[in-house]
Symmetry: C2
Subunit: 252 residues, 2 copies
């Protein structure tokens, strides 16, 4: 299925968010990764100017957000609901890593609508809410500091969804892209550079062909790594040629 | 090399950040993923109470942050500097995806200190700054809305670094984890359930062994998927047994 269509079937559900700024940040995070459906369960304050401010250009996601009284209402019609949980619960679905679970989410999205459920900033999801979900994700944070911002958590999950929907290789925006100035150098052009370099080094006495040592292989290793372009070869050979010119010590 | 040691060799460099809140958000994002070294190049305002507020428990990262006058100064001693860039530049290193580049960063971190360089919120990195870096990353955002928050960009990159340092399987915090109540059921226990179920269904007339159809395979498919635990088998067989008891219609 088309990756953008798959992403359009993912809904982000925020349960009882306390800070309107985080709602805006979530909307912005979603839109940067191609998600657009936002459901808010009992938000403390919404709509709110702070949410609009933090959403920047993603106010359209806020404008189309749906507010519900309960998570059950938010999950109506979904074929899969995945909870974000900071830890494995005694009761509740088994917890997977984001990268593992987003693939299952996209498989489910082939068949219908999927929800990604985030809890309140301070207390997370209740046990009753977790049990409405069929699967759970824990983001593998630093065990000594696992205090991930809500907007950041939404950002990470939406990013993983986008990566998975595009098989780890989403296209990069072409807006404002200017192509590299030059084409790759051919083998002959690169060999021409080496020959020219060896000639100059020999003329200047830096290189002694009778005692070559490892200088030439080292230079090949260096320039071999950088995948030279034609223009770059021309520049380098221009520099070399200039050192050979009789007027190289300045204009007369 | 130890993953935490590798992560400790990564420095986040923020060039000319305008909003102190983003500095705090970056510090928090870093610490959740096990990074701790922050360098600020000409921050508009630092230290700043807004940075402290957004950092929450990561104020230690802010307190140990280094402020420099130039990116060149910030990169002193680094074996690799990787720029975050919203687009491929005409001049500048070739752009890779985060997932590809963080692996190269960790290889470099085996040998020394590595910098991850982020530009200003509005204008990004200058061409001169980009050219101080040997590699670049573009986060593959939605081409129609690529406006990623600075803190979110730091969060995504630090997350990818942590995932890569731990070979995609960082340990999850065990704080507050309670183990599942029961051990997995054995084959014999699961078969005992199926036999019990078949018996009850036959007794009640729901299942006719002379015309079995696909009922039994369907039940096996259902329960086979859920990897039943011993306690769950006991619960299910308890329910079945109760339907068979002579007092099942109520207490006498």
């Amino acid at each position: 299925m088309n990756p953008d269509l798959l992403l359009s079937r993912l809904t982000v559900v925020l349960c009882r968010p306390s800070h309107p700024g985080n709602i805006g940040a979530a909307a912005r995070a979603m839109k940067t990764m191609g998600l657009s459906k936002l459901v808010l369960v009992q938000p403390r304050s919404f709509p709110d100017p702070e949410a609009d401010a933090r959403a920047t250009g993603a106010v359209d996601v806020l404008n189309s957000a749906v507010v519900t009284e309960s998570l059950a209402e938010a999950l109506s019609g979904k074929v899969l609901a995945v909870a974000l949980s900071a830890r494995q619960r005694d009761i509740g679905p088994v917890v997977s890593s984001p990268r593992t679970m987003v693939r299952q989410m996209l498989v489910a999205a082939e068949a219908g609508e999927v929800a990604l459920v985030f809890g309140n900033e301070s207390v997370g999801l209740s046990n009753a809410e977790i049990q409405l979900c069929q699967a759970a994700i824990t983001i593998p944070t630093n065990p000594e500091f696992s205090s991930l911002n809500l907007g950041s958590a939404v950002q990470l999950l939406c990013y993983e969804c986008r990566m998975a929907a595009y098989d780890d290789a989403p296209p990069v925006s072409n807006q404002g892209v200017t192509q590299f100035a030059s084409v790759p150098a051919t083998h002959d052009e690169v060999e021409g550079l080496y020959a020219h370099l060896e000639c100059v080094m020999t003329e200047t006495g830096f290189f002694n062909p009778a005692q070559p040592g490892r200088l030439l292989p080292k230079l090949r290793r260096l320039f071999g790594r950088v995948q030279l372009e034609r223009d770059e070869i021309n520049i380098l050979r221009g520099i070399l040629a200039a050192t050979q010119a009789p007027t190289r010590h300045g204009r007369h």
